[in-house]
Amino acid sequence: MAKVLMKGNEALGEAAVRAGCRFFFGYPITPQSELPHYLAKRLPEVGGVFLQAESEVAAINMVYGASGAGARVMTSSSSPGISLKMEGISYMAGAELPCVIVNMQRGGPGLGGIQPGQADYFQAVKGGGHGDYRLLVLAPASIQEMVDLMGKAFELADKYRNPVMILGDGILGQMMEPVEFPEMLDPASLPDKPYATTGAREREPRIVNSLFLDPVELEEHNLKLKEKYDHMVAEETRAESYFTEDSEIVLVAYGSSARVAKAAVDQARAQGIKAGLFRPITLFPFPKHQIQEACQNAKQVLTVEMSLGQMVEDVRYNLEFRIPVHFYGRVGGMVPTTRAVFDEIKRLVDGEVD
């Protein structure tokens, strides 16, 4: 298929349809509303269901219901709306139900603003909802990658029977880039889901639930979930390294910030500074081995985020505190500029470290 120029939000919608998603439940919020807007038109064309719920809480519980019945289903929102969905997300993780959740982050906390942000990293990666659960978190940095990861997200959700989050931001949602879509996947070709409540005719009833009143049973359930998360850590890490082989300073950034960091690395290289970029594509599981390899010659690391320092904690932890890890961030909808990140690289390699 030829390339088309498309907004990130709309491209994600089309990618979901092509990945066999036929159900969307959501509630509008800037800067992700083009996604439900696109699917409101597109899903009925392929026999799917688009429903604007009365709230985010209702939407995520509709996702729970559809997933429990075996459907490929998704929802999307932006920061405050994702907070509202957190209870349902924890329930889905507990009930082992697959789904895809898109978060086009904006500035917070609270209602915050509508301009881009990356301050929901902790919420996405460390919990957000209650209980010992994990989301698989994918962090695309271009429109093409968003499309490619959408198919992957549904695959992983089914593989692990776990919610998967695509963590974007307002820039990725609003930006247009050329994109190529995969072929349409027929949802009827997907394997049967042995847990789905499809009507208990001539078989034992199936129960989808996250309630385990017996602590012995609940502990066992938790341990079983942990085994899945360990599997993800062992098998699902993804990352991209850019000029890291000989880098004295390695930048670490995800999503839109990684694009800015990449341009700053280009500028630094043009001036003879050995700089590189490490870009995690999975935020959980964090690509530990890849980051250690990318930073093996680095004397220092600079993490760039649209937050006041969230992923930087995982960068330090995964590098096992062996290399100094610095931080540069902008918040509130302000976006780091290439110049500012380059100046920070220069300051660090020139040794003007505080």
Partner: protein, 181 residues
């Protein structure tokens, strides 16, 4: 070739469409492109801008803080972005609506009374943006005028395709003015 452009004006002047036309035209020429709009609570009459990158190699950052070119359709946009243009960069001004001179002396500057021309020549101020876009393309050759004309089919909704000849004429007028400048 790497051309980073900021286009700015009032909402309703067609700056978003200008940017999309450039991005489409670049894509059709197999160049790497990106387009980012400003987004916010503003509607028609408020300020709007978009950033477009056209490049021979993959676009590292689609976010532009120091554009090669600034195209301004109104005065607030000149005030907002003039200081950001790269030294030696290009500044295209819609002098029909910008009633002051730029402060920078290190730029290539072209003033076109686009609204007045659009009204005089075509009886329609809504193609003022196309006159400026035509001038930009003629000066920078970032994409060809033919590609921009071709992109009109993609950017204009089908029920507006009857306006393609008018838009093409406006683009050509702008290109002509820039070649004479």
């Amino acid at each position: 070739m790497l051309q980073e452009i900021i286009l700015a004006g009032f909402g309703g002047q067609g700056v978003m469409s200008m940017g999309q036309l450039l991005a489409y035209a670049g894509m059709e020429e197999d160049k790497q492109v990106s387009w980012i709009p400003s987004y916010g609570p503003e509607m028609r009459g408020g300020t709007a801008n978009c950033s477009v990158t056209i490049s021979d190699v993959s676009v590292s950052s689609p976010l532009i803080s120091e554009p090669d070119t600034l195209i301004v359709l109104n005065r607030p946009s000149l005030e907002k972005f003039e200081q950001d243009i790269k030294p030696g960069g290009l500044l295209l001004i819609n002098s029909s609506l910008v009633d002051r001179d730029p402060l920078r002396k290190d730029l290539r500057i072209l003033k076109i009374p686009a609204d007045d021309l659009a009204n005089e020549k075509f009886g329609n101020t809504r193609v003022a943006n196309m006159i400026l876009l035509g001038a930009f393309v003629a000066i920078t050759k970032a994409v060809s005028l033919d590609s921009v004309v071709g992109a009109l089919k993609k950017v204009l909704p089908e029920y507006r395709h009857n306006l393609i000849p008018l838009n093409r004429q406006a683009l050509e007028l702008g290109a002509e003015l820039a070649s004479g400048a």
